[in-house]
Symmetry: C2
Subunit: 376 residues, 2 copies
């Protein structure tokens, strides 16, 4: 068998999550707990009743590609020919990395802490990966100078997830400007930015930067999973310059052929309904306010989330996050994800998701605060 | 960018198909023209209304995996742990090749004529490919001795699509026995068989062989696309020995995460409805009988289809299939796919699909017969 597949380790997130009990307060979940809007499904059912469910073009349904391009309206990337519809943002990222990076020559730079998939995908393709760690002293804020310090001669792309999973940090306009300016002054073959925007509709600050608005060598990946509680629909996309998308469509065509026609019709209804993409924003804002309040009164050291639906809390010095997560579940019946799952730089932290009902999240935070005090 | 992606040529099938007019008789289509059974969608809608649309396990919904394993009931592969649900049979084949083959060591053997995706996927992964051609004199019947003659020291897997696209030939039990017997006597690391069963429910002979019933090192790929007119649903699977599936699930997890939950519920209804998988079989049998009759009275040299929904006709000697397909469309308004799209061994042939209404297929065959007579 292929050693690159054999070498993929099991998921630490899943290992911990599998120990959850029925009674547990689940702060581990990486997906919305809201129900999706049934109107989007009704639209897709009407389409199927009339047309059956044929293949679409490899790149996706033309109307959906157009609607997505117009909605985000990125400079030089606002036409349907800048969009490739994929099987969730997972395939979007996989195809983007596969298309962009030549394993014999290129390296990928990943900004840590980060969701583990970027590193695992690159390894699966035989692409060398470097990571660059943001500073714990600064609550892991995106820092352009730190990111730039991670570049090597061979770096061809940098993956940035903002709002970030796990930290909840958002890259702001000043740091984006500094990063993009330095990359433009660098000369030679461009270093691409891959912006994972999966938590875009869970943004709680107003100085957030969209890299595609500032830098022409940007590839955006996203999906309707988190914005519209449609994780299981597996409907995502890549937005990128035309020449890149043409090549990405070819890779996508041989990996999965095309995205699900039904799912594409669901997404088309999201994008053609006024406010459809933002239909869950107010729920997240209210939830966020309650969670921040609970964290502030908990006595825990925490990173105030600027985006995403996570909040991270610091464990006492010297406590390993995996041990802590297992003990927290065993003794206090709360599931949280150990920081170690997101790179070495995040050891000593726990990631809490806050998509459960607010009183459950509050109770979970209260139990974690009690748990942490036991060490002192 | 990745040279393996840049090097993928455009699709000859799509190049020809793009020239189709509204008036054209379409014998090019590679998907059913039937409408899917709405009951399967109603079941999925009920599920979504109750549960929302969350991620499933990477390997797929447990009930669907179980239902598929039981339906096919292959020896040593009849448990849910032998099944991985994928985004159509395209991702099933992609993940199977990616998981099985070590690009630094292994070669893939493809039995030609064949659908071009196997070779393109292997090249995308950097896996060397050899092809072995079945004999035109024998109407491209699967021939164990010929297949075995294509093996090299490095061959780790053989892809066999039976019923075959494009030829419509089916590997029979005698040839399967000869092939499997020789592979078992060979010793050393096993050579795997990958059986693409996508046209299984379009089989019109009774001596067909299922390789997984005869050889333990068999990987099966399939989907509900052709059997149930659900091409756009993108719901397929791999059935394989447990140890292999465990590794394939990891590769699948980083390529697409998991299959669409809605699509999995549609497929679950197919597999849990009595006769659901076979609901379109009688339509194909009737259609097949009419097409064979039309071909027999046409005067054309044709390969009598044993399976699939294609029939192939011979062009006059020396006529290139791409030129012929373009001229046929231009002068007679009939779309057929040039044999050259399926490997050099199929140059000089045209592939006709017969999913259009029978009178249109008959008219198309009649025009092709007229077109061929013009050369004599």
């Amino acid at each position: 068998m292929n050693p690159r597949v054999l070498d993929i380790p099991g998921s630490l997130i899943r290992e911990v999550a599998s120990k959850k009990r029925a009674s547990s307060i689940d702060l581990g979940l990486g997906e919305p707990s809201l129900k999706p809007n049934p109107a989007h499904f009704a639209n897709a059912m009407n389409y199927i009743a009339e047309h059956g469910i044929k293949y679409t073009h490899n790149a996706g349904d033309a109307a959906l590609r157009e609607a997505i391009a117009r909605h985000y309206d990125y400079p030089e990337m606002h036409n349907s020919s800048n969009v490739c519809i994929t099987t969730g943002s997972q395939e979007a990222m996989y195809v983007a990395l596969k298309t962009l990076l030549d394993p014999s020559r290129d390296e990928l730079l990943v900004v840590d802490p980060s969701f583990p998939s970027y590193v695992k995908m690159a390894k699966l393709e035989g692409v060398p990966v470097r990571t660059v760690e943001m500073s714990e002293d600064d609550d892991f804020a995106f820092d352009a100078q730190r990111i730039l310090s991670g570049l090597s001669e061979r770096t061809r792309a940098i993956v940035i997830c903002s709002p970030n999973n796990p930290t909840g940090r958002v890259i702001d306009r000043a740091q984006a400007e500094a990063l993009v300016g330095a990359l433009e002054r660098r000369g030679g073959d461009p270093v691409w930015l891959i912006h994972d925007e999966i938590y875009r509709e869970q943004t709680f600050v107003e100085n957030e930067a969209y890299l595609a608005e500032r830098y022409p060598h940007t590839i955006v990946t996203n999906s309707v999973s988190k914005s519209n509680a449609l994780t299981g629909l597996r409907l995502g996309w890549i937005i990128a310059p035309h020449d890149f998308i043409q090549q990405a469509i070819k890779a996508h065509a041989w990996v999965t052929s095309c995205a699900d026609t039904f799912a594409q019709q669901v997404a088309l209804n999201v994008f053609t309904t006024l406010g459809g993409v933002n239909e869950h924003v107010s729920w997240y804002r209210a939830q966020w306010a309650g969670v921040v309040e609970a964290l502030e009164s908990s006595g825990l050291r925490f990173i105030k989330p600027e985006g995403s639906f996570y909040a991270c809390v610091r464990l006492p010095d010297g406590v390993a996050s995996l041990d802590a997560a297992l003990q927290l579940l065993e003794d206090h019946d709360v599931l949280a994800i150990p920081g170690a799952a997101f790179g070495e730089s995040f050891e000593g932290w726990l990631r809490l998701s806050w998509v459960a009902p607010l009183d459950r999240v509050r109770e979970g935070i209260s139990r974690i605060a009690k748990f942490v005090k036991e060490f002192v």
